[in-house]
């Protein structure tokens, strides 16, 4: 399953890379001109990578969308939000969780000569609010009788910092394909020494302080102010 996941990742990355870099070699301008920041467009995006959960992470159902405010093709204000639920059925327990996550941050475009595309780095501050519970917990022992128990729903929130590196390119007019790899660093919250979350919405593995991830977005750019 992991192999399939990374073949899928690799092919999406290769498509993005070839599509963004196949056109021109010299993408960097020798000197940077100072221009006032102007809102040049808003992109609405959907993380299509999450639609592959049914194949690669069948216990998870999630979705994620983003708003991307283009400031003079140089800086992009980013708002992302999503929902995630886990329904994990194992031989000796059932685990479920659900929650929302929100991210706010900024991307910096390193491309100077292709203003409609993006290659750059960014950061996000993320917050997740989620609940988790478990039932049919089977406790077995060589001598003591087996029994089943449950843990009632508990609520949590957590914050993390995210640093990303990514690409966005215009596939068709006003339609963009984007890919980003990110490092997510736990800041505070979301910990429970006895009942550590399996998967924290938007952050990933609950037991980890640092998670790596990748997003695959399709964006629609609301066509206004584009040529200014």
């Amino acid at each position: 399953m992991d192999l399939l996941k990374y073949i899928f990742s690799l092919s999406l990355v290769l498509i993005s890379v070839s599509f963004c870099f196949g056109q021109e070699e010299n993408l960097y301008a020798p000197k940077e001109e100072k221009v006032p920041l102007v809102l040049k467009g808003i992109k609405l995006g959907v993380n299509v990578g999450r639609f592959t959960d049914f194949q690669f992470k069948p216990e998870r159902f999630s979705y994620e969308a983003s708003l991307d405010f283009n400031l003079s093709n140089k800086y992009y204000g980013i708002i992302e939000a999503g929902y995630s639920e886990i329904d994990l059925k194992k031989e000796n327990y059932n685990y479920s969780s659900e929650g929302n996550f929100y991210k706010i941050g900024m991307d910096y475009n390193m491309l100077k000569k292709q203003p409609s595309d993006y290659l750059g780095m960014g950061f996000r501050i993320g917050r997740a609010d989620f609940t988790q519970s478990a039932n049919n917990i089977l406790i077995e022992d060589d001598h003591w009788p087996s029994f089943t128990t449950a843990i009632d729903s508990k609520s949590y929130n957590m914050y993390w910092l995210e640093v990303s590196f990514g690409l966005k390119g215009e596939l068709f007019k006003n339609v963009y394909l984007g890919w980003a790899a990110m490092v997510k660093i736990r800041m505070t919250g979301g910990k429970d020494a006895a009942f550590q979350a399996y998967d924290i919405p938007g952050f990933g593995k609950g037991e980890s302080s640092i998670n790596l991830g990748a997003n695959y977005y399709i964006y629609y750019q609301i066509p206004f102010n584009r040529n200014k």
Binding site: S9, L10, V13, E25, Y93
Partner: protein, 156 residues
């Protein structure tokens, strides 16, 4: 531009390696009470009290025999995952009487990992014992987890 491709490749390889995991529970899931049995009474040593010693709980259908599962004066067993009171009977083939331990503890369910599921950990509050052969009992380590066993010493 080549350097960007290298960066992407490094990130992908890192993500792949970092995400690799199997679905097997490879962790230790036992949270045991290590019981050291120190037989100092010469009357008991003469009847090979320890060699023939067994422990059981009235809730068990079997016993743990020192001759089979014990060594170096130590016998391990789990506290009750169902109750905060664990009753353990200590018996020996050549001894006329038994001794009983009542171990009072607090239990906590711990989500060990997605692969292993849940285990029960304990904190011993107190232990009461009969004194047919037991002289004294000492709690050495009261917290019992999968990472560290609890420990008591029983002097006969």
């Amino acid at each position: 531009m080549k350097s960007i491709n290298y960066i992407i490749l490094i990130i992908l390889v890192t993500v792949s390696v970092y995400s690799c995991s199997d679905d097997q529970c490879n962790a230790d899931t036992d949270a045991l009470l290590k019981t050291e049995l120190l037989v100092l009474d010469t009357n008991l040593t003469s009847i090979k009290y320890l060699a023939n010693l067994s422990v059981y709980s009235p809730e068990w259908t079997d016993s743990i025999h020192y001759s089979e599962e014990g060594s170096k004066n130590i016998l391990n067993f789990n506290l009750s995952p169902i109750s905060d009171t664990t009753e353990i009977v200590i018996t020996s083939l050549n001894a006329a009487l038994n001794d009983t331990l009542f171990i009072y503890s607090r239990r906590e369910l711990l989500f060990l990992s997605p692969e292993c599921g849940f285990v029960t950990t304990f904190t011993i509050d107190t232990i009461l014992n009969s004194t047919n052969y037991i002289d004294s009992l000492k709690i050495i380590t009261k917290n019992i987890s999968t990472e560290k066993d609890g420990s008591i010493k029983i002097y006969f």
